[in-house]
């Protein structure tokens, strides 16, 4: 048998062994006491300066999204024309744009919309994909076959084109872009959730629950779902990075929030006309996007069993 469409590497982004985060390893380490755990965390982080930097970046981005005034007290829409297109320096460390607005302030205040869209996109993908995968894996048989063929088809259409088709139908705007990106991410969640559900369904405790006469939905909710959650969470964090990229690309193309509001992607698009004379207007917002995605991916890798393997 040869393989059909996407390779295993792409299909199952399931971590090989979620035992480290699962319920099995819960008794041993907890006995060691709190101070032991703290020391282990310190050692874990000290060996991974990249992970610490990633956490710092994510905390900064979250701060920017929720309390932007803390990082940039100025008004992102107000510029001083006397200070047009200043390169990055002490006063404006991301420089200023063609209207004299501080690029740092604009990036910080753009975080909220960009992040909202990303969170919504991941939520849509997680909920819809998770339900599809759970239903397919738990019901099995015909329904499983039908749902998974549907997922195969979604994988045959490149994500950005599927998003663009959805935007064509739904129209422009931050929320619509987010939904479009989320739907395009449904397929990978469905796959992973299904694989996990299949794994958990065969386990002894699910059989035991059934044997004592627990109803199907209760078993699904109380036993299968919590135990299938680990790898799905790791995928959700990974998907977060992909969603930031997708949302910012669509916003760059002009399908996001209309002009006065700014998102990271549209900030890069704004700077395009001044690329030859003021590179920083484009470069800085893009750099922030890249740093955020890198950090999120790093954290996803850490969640993906790195903690469990390090002892």
């Amino acid at each position: 048998m040869t393989t059909l469409h996407p390779p295993p590497e792409l299909r199952d982004r399931t971590p090989p062994d979620p035992a480290g985060t699962g319920s099995a390893g819960r008794e041993g380490p907890r006995r060691a006491g709190r101070s032991g755990g703290g020391a282990r965390l310190g050692r874990f982080l000290r060996r991974r300066p990249g992970l610490v930097a990633a956490v710092v970046v994510v905390v900064l981005v979250l701060t920017a999204a929720f309390v932007p005034a803390l990082l940039a007290p100025g008004d992102p829409a107000v510029g001083d024309t006397a200070q047009r297109m200043l390169p990055p320096g002490p006063g404006h460390w991301f420089g200023t744009d063609h209207l004299g607005r501080d690029v740092w302030t604009r990036v910080v205040h753009g975080a909220a919309l960009s992040l909202q869209a990303t969170v919504l996109a991941v939520a849509v993908a997680l909920v819809v994909g998770g339900l599809v995968g759970l239903a397919a894996g738990y019901a099995g048989g015909r329904l499983d076959e039908l749902l998974m063929r549907g997922v195969d088809v979604l994988l045959a259409i490149p994500a950005i084109l599927l998003s663009l088709a959805l935007i064509t139908a739904l129209g422009f705007g931050t929320v619509k872009v987010a939904i479009a990106v989320g739907i395009a991410g449904v397929a990978s969640f469905a796959r992973v959730t299904r694989a996990e559900t299949l794994r958990v369904r065969r386990s002894l405790y699910v059989e035991a629950a059934r044997a004592v006469g627990t109803r199907r939905l209760t078993t699904l909710w109380r036993h299968v779902l919590p135990n299938a959650a680990g790898p799905v969470t790791a995928l959700a964090v990974l998907e977060f990075g992909l969603a930031i990229l997708a949302v910012s690309a669509l916003s760059f193309l002009g399908y996001g929030a209309p002009p006065p509001a700014s998102e990271w992607g549209s900030l890069v698009a704004d700077g395009r006309n001044y690329l030859a004379v003021a590179w920083w207007i484009c470069a800085m917002p893009g750099l922030v996007i890249a740093a955020t995605v890198l950090s999120v991916n790093r954290i996803s890798r850490a969640l993906d069993g790195e903690w469990g393997r390090s002892v």
């Binding site: 040869t2 059909l4 088809v153 045959a156 088709a165 064509t168 139908a169 690309a249 760059f252």
Partner: protein, 315 residues
């Protein structure tokens, strides 16, 4: 390779295409939104009368029940007729056909960049004698997929066109104009290839035939290039369908950044004016590229790897 197997694979490919067409139909025609109103409003700014709108709907068959529209459009699509563009009145097939050559150029160049770059990084990351180099190169793919493609494109333009003046910033004239778009387009794809290839190279370096070759005294470079790379390439071939799909889809952003004509620009323009038939045509084309490449890879696989035999009857 048996004929039944061939027919079954062909049937599967057609089924995926039909389903992709159906998905795009559901998305584009079932979701709320009135393309005719958008189309009319985009014209001259005058508000069209309801009667005019109805006439337009009738012209594009949008007044019929959806199930009838589905049937007639699918029947037409089966005969190669993808409808006519709402925006220009041009047949969708010729619009896509006209936009295709420049996109194929950058996609081809991007594929070249991705395959050579990805292979080089994978080889160096697994074969280097220095641990620090292996580690640094191993991190390159995950860095490359984290960069927004549109931003990479703009930064390349800033550096190589505006600062150094080596290559043109925009347009599609001459082979020089192909270089920067190809790099921007090939970067995420190359990262994917590097990741998959490095993983399968590591596996094949641990296999018995490599041990045998080493025992016979074959040098490390020869082991890597002549023995390990051959078998490691095969698993990497399976991502080719995804790679080609990504290249077609990536043209949307890259052609916008570099102001080049092509399929991507056509798509962006069509999304903006809700030109549903064109968007559906592009989606179908991307799915077609994906399906055809996968079919070819599947058919070529047993020929390239003698260990795999295709069982015609089973499953």
């Amino acid at each position: 390779m048996s004929l039944p197997y061939l027919l079954r694979r062909l049937g599967l490919a057609v089924a995926v295409l039909w389903a992709a067409w159906t998905v795009s139909f559901v998305v584009l025609y079932l979701l709320p939104g009135d393309p005719v109103a958008t189309m009319a409003a985009a014209g001259d700014g005058e508000q069209p009368s309801p009667a005019e709108l109805d006439a337009l709907r009738a012209r594009y068959g949008l007044d019929q029940p959806l199930i009838v529209q589905y049937g007639t459009k699918l029947w037409a699509a089966l005969q190669g007729d993808l409808g006519i563009s709402f925006a220009t009145g041009e047949p969708v097939r010729s619009a896509i056909g006209a936009a295709l050559p420049p996109t194929l150029q950058i996609a081809g160049a991007g594929l070249l960049v991705a395959v050579t770059g990805g292979t080089a990084v994978a080889l160096a990351a697994t074969g280097s004698r220095h641990a620090w180099l292996r580690q640094a190169l191993g991190a390159v793919p995950s860095l490359a997929v984290s960069l927004p493609v549109f931003w990479v494109g703009l930064m390349l333009v800033q550096l190589f066109s505006f600062r150094l003046g080596w290559l043109p910033a925009v347009g599609a004239r001459g082979p020089g104009s192909l270089v920067l778009p190809a790099i921007a387009l090939g970067l995420p794809t190359g990262a994917l290839i590097a990741q998959v290839l490095a993983a399968s190279l590591t596996r094949s370096l641990q296999s018995p035939f490599v041990t045998t070759a080493r025992a016979k005294g074959v040098g490390e470079a020869a082991v890597l290039l002549r023995h390990a790379l051959g078998t490691a390439t095969l698993p990497a071939l399976t991502v080719l369908g995804t790679v080609v799909g990504n290249l077609v889809a990536g043209s949307v952003v890259v052609e916008t950044v570099f102001t080049r004509p092509g399929l991507g620009r056509l798509t962006v323009a069509s999304v903006g004016v809700q030109d549903i038939p064109v968007v559906q045509g592009v989606v179908l084309f991307a799915a077609l590229a994906f399906v055809v490449v996968n079919l070819l890879v599947d058919l070529a696989y047993p020929l390239l790897d003698p260990r795999i035999t295709v069982s015609g009857g089973a499953r």
